[in-house]
Structure formats: structure tokens, C-alpha cells
Amino acid sequence: MAEAPEQIPGERSARGAGTDSSMGRPPLSIAESVGKGRTLRGDAWRRLRKNRLAVAGLVWVAIMVLLAVSADLWVPRYLGDPVDIDTTQAASQSLQPPSWDHLLGTDRMSRDIASRIIYGARASLLVGAVAVGIMLVIGLVMGAVAAYYGGIWDSIIMRAADIFLAFPYVLFAIVLVGVMGGGSPTNVFLAIGLLGWPGIARIFRGSVLAVRENEYVDAARAMGASTPRILFRHIMPNAIAPLVVYATMSIGVAILAEAALSFLGMGVQPPAPSWGGMLSEARGYLFTAPWLMVYPGIGILTTVLAFVLLGDGLRDALDVRKKE
């Protein structure tokens, strides 16, 4: 995803017209003025709920999280262990097509695919959450420092952001993990997190700059509020909507990146299950055992799609200016 160029001066937002309260508003906005008066958050939630695709995304994410979190409680017992093998039995249980015993079949090592997919979801969601967490922490600090202190700090940090944005994402993730040594989850988190911060920093910096000059911030400062307090009490609420949208989308991107790394053998290491790794194993069985390829791919697709739809829905609901 290439970053859009700087906003065109005077360019209007895609949906700005709808909330324009000046006289002589365009005819279509008449209806939109009906039913005001709820809180912004409540309003957003209401709009989100109306978006069926976004709700589907939310439900799917919730299901995945639930499966991943509860896996240890029931998956090994009912579906089979995702890692352990009994080598004396393995040969006869290898590559079973889907059946009642193994809902999604077994892989070559005789392990249950459903079990591995659920544990793979855990790996994917963990990477998504932790990497985005890292990206948020770095991005917020960088963005806040750049905007709040301005001057040389701003230049340095924004230049650094440019440098990171100049790197092609997937390529650099692969190189970074390659350098740090593949196979360590920490390195995967770090690589994806390190690459994502400039987006967050830019958004947050923009929000800070927009609010910093406001009088109420001056007032707060005059009353002796500390900088972090100002940031979090006054600026954060304004920045939260675009950040939520960006972070939601980023989880999807991070999951895709992790899958790619695992596919290349540089992400989560076998025997621990991961969707990318399972696809890599499945390459040899495109014809003889296609279910190996189908389900992990569907896992990635649906989960990332869920985050994308949810992010889209949130953007519309929170009325965030389109940033593509």
C-alpha cells in the first residue's frame, strides 16, 4: 500500500459534504440531518452495526480469537495434538482426507489439520496483535515527539519515517528477519512492528498538530497540565478514530506478512503450526491431498478479510477521511 501523497490543498474530504451545516446545503444532505443528537461513539456503533460486512468481520474475528484462546482446553483432547506424533501409528494416519475422525483431514505427519489450523490461528493473531502493538508504541511516541517538539525532532523523525516507507514492505520484512535470524517469533514481531510505525506516527503527528494550536490545549497548558496529560486527555480522543482504523487494517497486513514469512520458512518454525508454514508444506500435495492447501489458505483469507471489512466498516462508521 503506497502512502498517498500529501493532501491536495483545498481538496475536500469524500464525505465532508454530508455534515456541512452551512446554508444551502446540497439536497441529499437533507435526510442526513434527520436523527441527530446521539453521542459520537453511540452513533459510530450504530452505523457499524448497520454495515453487514463489518459485522460479519467482527463476528469472524471474535470466533477466531475465541478458538485461539480456548484451544488448550479442548482442541488436543477432541481434535488431536497439533504437534505430537506417535511414530508407530503415523504412517497409517498420514494424509487422511477429511472425515468424522479428522474433520479437515490429516497432514503428512498424521497430525489433525483442524487442530493445527486452530493453533495456527493463535500464532497468526498473536503476531498480528503483538506486531501492531509494537507498531503503535513506536509510532505514537515518534509521532508525539515529532509534533509536540517540532523543529529538528520533527525533521529527523519524519525523515526516518520516509526511509522506512521507502523500503518495500514484504522485501524488507524478509531481509530483516533473514538478518536477525528466522525462526524466532520475537524477530517476526519486531520486523513487522518496526516496518509499520511510520503510518501510525504520521497519523498521530497530524492529529497532534491539528489540535495543538487549539485554545483549549493552551488553556490546559496554562493550568499547568503536563505534556503527557495534554497528549492523552486532549489529543488522543481526536486521534483515536484514524488510529483504530489504521491499527485494525494493520493487523490484517501483519497476518499476511507473517504468513508470507512462514511460507518462506522464516516465520513460525515447525513443528509449531502456522498457516503460512502449513501452506508451504502443502505445496507438494496440490493434487494428491488438496485439502492441505485449501484450509490454511481459507484461514488466512477469511481472517485478513475480516480485519479488512472491519477496518472498512470502522472507517465509515467513525467518519475517517479516506487515506488511500
Partner: protein, 555 residues
């Protein structure tokens, strides 16, 4: 993934079996003939055979160190002697005859005088000397100089103290005399290696870079256009070749980063010979028919699953606890369910290893290594004997290996087997260079390796891996008594007697169990339906001379 590019060895040497390439497998060539070969039988001339290879680093003989490069060298160059593709027997090539002195330390080769380079010049003894010195010259940083380590003057040259191999003398155009630092009865096999061929000095000195991309050799095929990086190397038959002329017009060595993609291409009909990726062997057997001997592909019997002269084994660090105790090593060896590995990972193509020497190498004795079998109870006993009843008190072990799905699968099974005797092993995965670095520096507990024969001799396995003086003895096994036996064996000129001595050495080592043999390699390849009499031998080389393509000439 990783498995595809040669990787592996980055520099490592010898015949370490290149990870991916060798992940190959065997299946029994035992199925009785199901089809008569060569429909029609009439040999047709012409056509270009499309042959899958991995991405080579080098295709010129003085640098080629991976099988993909060596296969091209094999087609383009001829060495002093050659091995029969099917039987691995030694036969004359550029050298018509040769003899050795009493202790096998001085060898004299008599060239037939018929071989010419593709530029038309006659091959002389000096061309061998030039080529070999180029291999050994440290400036060229060649990874294959180890082939010549027995030659007198090798060390001096490697250290930069000498500019020529003092042991190699071109007595005249047709006589090459090689003096070794020690007696080495197998040296006649060593010079059969494809990369120890002659090279034309004038071409190299004219433009070494061009030579690297379009080597000029003396073999049945000549490179027709410079190597298209990552895409192909094209060779056509050399019209003035004095040996047997190929039936086909040429070979396109098509470069693939991974076997899966190549196999898709094969199924789509644009490749004549490829490896079969893991997981497809059984389907391929049904679809294309199995070659009765495992080496020869003919229409309807296209799947080649013949054993290769190579072994996959676990390295145990003999120098460090707990594997300095032979009983612990024996326990590990007995714990591993080799049949499961063969069945699951290799689809029954490879066979469980019962010795460190693969069948097909003269000197293989079945079940020579008593601990190389699956016996959980015995494993537990040995573990108890070593002071760890049921694994109690046994430290958590690191299972190190280079990444790649093939290894991962095997290690997953090994891990499960070790767990069954109470030993907990954790994975320690790294990329190939890092892994080999660890292994060479002894920074590991259990590792893996593969070893394939450069030349079909038992010494290649025994000396390199088990002698304490060998640089490739990664298990750090040190048995002075064994070293003596090996040294004695190397100097025996009579082949049978020499092999007997090596068998003795193998038995000695087996008792100590310094490494854990897992499987004997076999390749798993498939040829197209238009390809006849195509042999891919146990040394991993394909014979492009005797094969022929049906209907290709008409195209």
C-alpha cells in the same frame, strides 16, 4: 522452499549432500517389469531434452560444487576416467590406461589422444595440470579443491607458498604423472570426478568471465549460448566428439528454484525429466509407471526411484556431554523409528539405514551397525545404563538443523521418538550457513547431515566422516585405533583386500555409534512419455548420450 537451492552447503564441502536436491527418495526398484521398454525400439535421432536442475552457482568445472553445476560439467567435459551410469564401474575416458606404483602413491595416466576441446584443439596432459592447479589456487577460492587433497604439493599451494602442484607432471602431451602425499589406492576413482576434467588455458585466459558463463569443454555436448542466469543452460551435441555421439541434438538445463514448480511444468508437458517433489511419488507411480531398475526411464515406466550412494544421518557431538557416553549414543540410535521416516517423509522411496555405508558401494555389509535399528526397549536399557533411567536427569537437548521442510519433517519424527524414551529435544533451526558454522565449531548437541559419494568408493564415507584427522568429522569422533585401520586400508592397492580392511573399520565404528544413520538416499525422478532409455545413475548423474526422444525429430 529453502530446500530448493543447493544451499546447503555454502562452502561446505565435499560431498555433503545438498539438502534439497537430495531430499530425494528411493523406492525400491524391486517391482518386476511391468512393461516392455522402448515401444517400437527403433532409436530416433534429434530433439532437445528439457531437464530440470536447481539454480547452480557455477557451471565451470573448477568451481562447480553442487550437483546442478556438476551435472552440466558432466555433459560438457570428460575426465580421465568415467563411471558407468548403471553399475558405477570404472572405465577409461580421456585416459586410455593407467597404473600405480607399489604403495599407490604415484599414478601414471596415458591419454588416448583422441579428445579435443570444443574449439578444436587436442586435449593434452598439461590441460589437466592447468585445470587442477586452477582448482587449488587459493585466489580462485574454489570449494572443490578437497578432491585433490591427496596430491603432493596441495597444502603448499593452498597456503600460497607454491604456485603449482608439485605432484602433477605432464611428462608429455599424452602422459600425466601424479604423485600423492600418501598411498591412496582409490585415487583412480577420484580422477573420475567430472570436475577434475581438463580445461583449455587459452580460452580461460582470453576471457575468464565468458568462460564461466559458456565453458568450453571436451565432452559430448557443448554450451551453445551463455548461461541465462536463473533460467537455463543450453547445450548442443559436439559434432567432432570422438566418443559415442548422443542421439539427441541437445539438452536444455532448465533452472528451477523449487521442485514443486518444475513438477507443475512437467505435468503441463514442457519438461522431459524432473525430480518429483515430496508427496507426489505415489501419484506419480500410478500415473507414469515405475522404472524396473529405478534408474532407466522409458515410456510407461517413467518413475525412477533408484537408490543413490548417499546416507542421511544424525550427528551427535561426541566431545560434549551427554553424547560423549557411547551408551547414550546407542540409546538415541535405537530409539529412532527409521521405517516411519521412510514411510511418512519419503513415501517409502528411501530405505532405513542399517549401516553407515549405503548399498551399492563396494564394502556395504547389511546390518553392519547393530544399533542402527528401532528397538525402544533396548534404547531405554542403554539410557539406564548410562545413568538416566527413563530419561530421568537427562538434560534437555537441542536438536539443531538447517531449515527446510524435509529436515523439519524428519526432525519432528526424531523428536517424537526421543520423547518416547524420555529425552526431551528442542528444535534449533537456522539457515544453512549458520547451521554449518555451528556444526563445524562443535556448537551443537544433535545435528543432521547427509553424505553422498563423489566417487563410488567406501573411503569417501569412512575417512571423511569417521577419521579424527578429517575436517568433515563433524561428530568429533576420535578413535585412534580406527584411524590406524583407515590409514592402513588407504594404502592397499588391491581392491578386494582394501575393501575388506574398510569393512573392518566400519564394524569398529559401528560399535561406538558415533553418528546415527537414518536413511539411505534414493532419487525420485520422472521422465516424460517421449523419453527413452534415459538413465539417472546412483551417483546422481544423468546419461544424455544413450537416451533418445520419440517424435522429437519431426518437430
Amino acid at each position: 522452499m529453502v530446500r530448493t537451492r543447493k544451499p546447503a552447503l555454502y562452502g561446505i564441502i565435499p560431498a555433503l549432500l545438498l539438502t534439497g536436491v537430495l531430499l530425494a527418495m528411493t523406492a525400491c526398484g524391486q517391482e518386476p517389469t511391468t512393461s516392455t521398454t522402448a515401444a517400437g525400439g527403433e532409436i530416433q535421432k534429434g530433439g532437445t531434452l528439457v531437464y530440470q536442475i536447481g539454480n547452480p552457482s557455477f557451471i565451470e568445472p573448477t568451481q562447480a560444487f553442487e550437483s546442478e553445476g556438476i551435472e552440466i560439467v558432466q555433459a560438457v567435459f570428460d575426465s580421465l576416467v568415467q563411471f558407468d551410469y548403471l553399475t558405477n564401474e570404472l572405465a577409461p575416458d580421456v585416459a586410455a590406461s593407467w597404473e600405480a606404483n607399489e604403495d599407490a602413491s604415484v599414478w601414471t595416466f596415458h591419454l588416448s589422444g583422441e579428445s579435443t576441446f570444443h574449439n578444436g584443439r587436442k586435449v593434452t596432459a598439461a590441460d589437466f595440470k592447468y585445470a587442477w592447479e586452477r582448482i587449488c589456487d587459493p585466489v580462485n577460492k574454489s570449494n572443490i579443491s578437497y578432491h585433490l587433497s591427496a596430491v603432493k604439493g596441495f597444502d603448499e599451494m593452498g597456503e600460497g607458498a607454491a604456485t603449482e602442484l608439485s605432484g602433477v607432471k605432464a611428462i608429455d602431451d599424452e602422459t600425466l604423472e601424479v604423485t600423492l602425499s600418501y598411498g591412496y589406492g582409490d585415487f583412480e576413482y577420484v580422477v573420475g570426478h567430472p570436475c577434475l576434467c581438463p580445461i583449455p588455458k587459452e580460452e580461460v585466459e582470453k576471457d575468464a568471465a565468458a568462460f564461466a558463463l559458456k565453458p568450453i569443454g571436451n565432452g559430448p555436448f557443448m554450451v551453445s549460448e551463455p548461461w541465462a542466469a536463473s533460467r537455463y543452460v543450453r547445450v548442443v551435441k559436439y559434432p567432432d566428439y570422438k566418443g559415442t555421439q548422443p542421439n539427441i541434438d541437445g539438452v536444455e538445463f532448465k533452472i528451477f528454484e523449487d521442485v514443486e514448480t518444475a513438477y507443475l511444468g512437467f505435468q503441463a508437458g514442457s519438461i522431459d525429466s524432473t525430480q518429483i517433489p515430496p508427496g507426489n511419488v505415489n501419484a506419480a507411480k500410478t500415473a507414469y509407471g515405475v522404472s524396473p531398475d529405478g534408474y532407466t526411464s522409458n515410456p510407461g515406466a517413467q518413475v525412477q526411484l533408484g537408490p543413490e550412494l548417499a546416507i542421511y544421518y544424525m550427528l551427535l557431538n561426541n566431545e560434549a556431554e551427554p553424547f560423549d557416553d557411547p551408551d547414550v549414543r546407542r540409546a538415541v540410535s535405537l530409539a529412532i523409528n527409521r521405517q516411519a521416516i521412510c514411510d511418512i517423509v519419503h513415501e517409502g522411496v528411501r530405505k532405513p539405514a542399517d549401516s553407515f555405508i549405503p548399498p551399492g558401494v563396494a564394502g556395504y555389509v547389511p546390518e553392519a551397525w547393530a544399533y542402527s535399528k528401532y528397538d525402544v526397549e533396548a534404547a531405554k536399557e542403554h539410557l539406564a545404563k548410562a545413568g538416566y533411567p527413563d530419561g530421568a536427569g537427562f538434560p534437555i537437548i537441542k536438536l539443531s538443523f538447517n531449515s527446510g521442510p524435509g529436515h523439519e519433517d524428519i526432525m519432528t519424527l526424531v523428536q517424537a521418538d526421543l520423547k518416547a524414551i524420555g529425552v526431551t529435544a528442542e528444535f534449533d533451526v537456522s539457515d544453512a550457513p549458520t547451521y554449518w558454522d555451528k556444526v563445524q565449531n562443535g556448537n551443537y548437541q544433535i545435528g543432521r547431515s547427509g553424505w553422498g559419494a563423489d566417487y563410488p568408493i567406501i573411503d569417501s564415507f569412512v575417512y571423511s566422516n569417521l577419521a579424527s584427522t578429517s575436517a568433515d568429522n563433524f561428530a568429533n569422533y576420535n578413535n585412534p585405533a580406527l584411524d590406524e585401520v583407515i590409514t592402513a586400508a588407504r594404502q592397499i592397492k588391491a581392491t578386494d583386500e582394501r575393501i575388506k580392511k574398510y569393512e573392518e573399520a566400519v564394524a569398529m565404528a559401528g560399535e561406538d555409534c558415533p553418528v546415527v544413520p537414518i536413511t539411505f538416499y534414493a532419487h525420485s525422478r520422472v521422465g516424460s512419455a517421449r523419453l527413452h532409455d534415459f538413465v539417472h545413475g546412483g551417483l546422481g548423474m544423468s546419461d544424455f548420450v544413450s537416451c533418445w526422444l520419440e517424435g522429437a525429430a519431426a518437430q
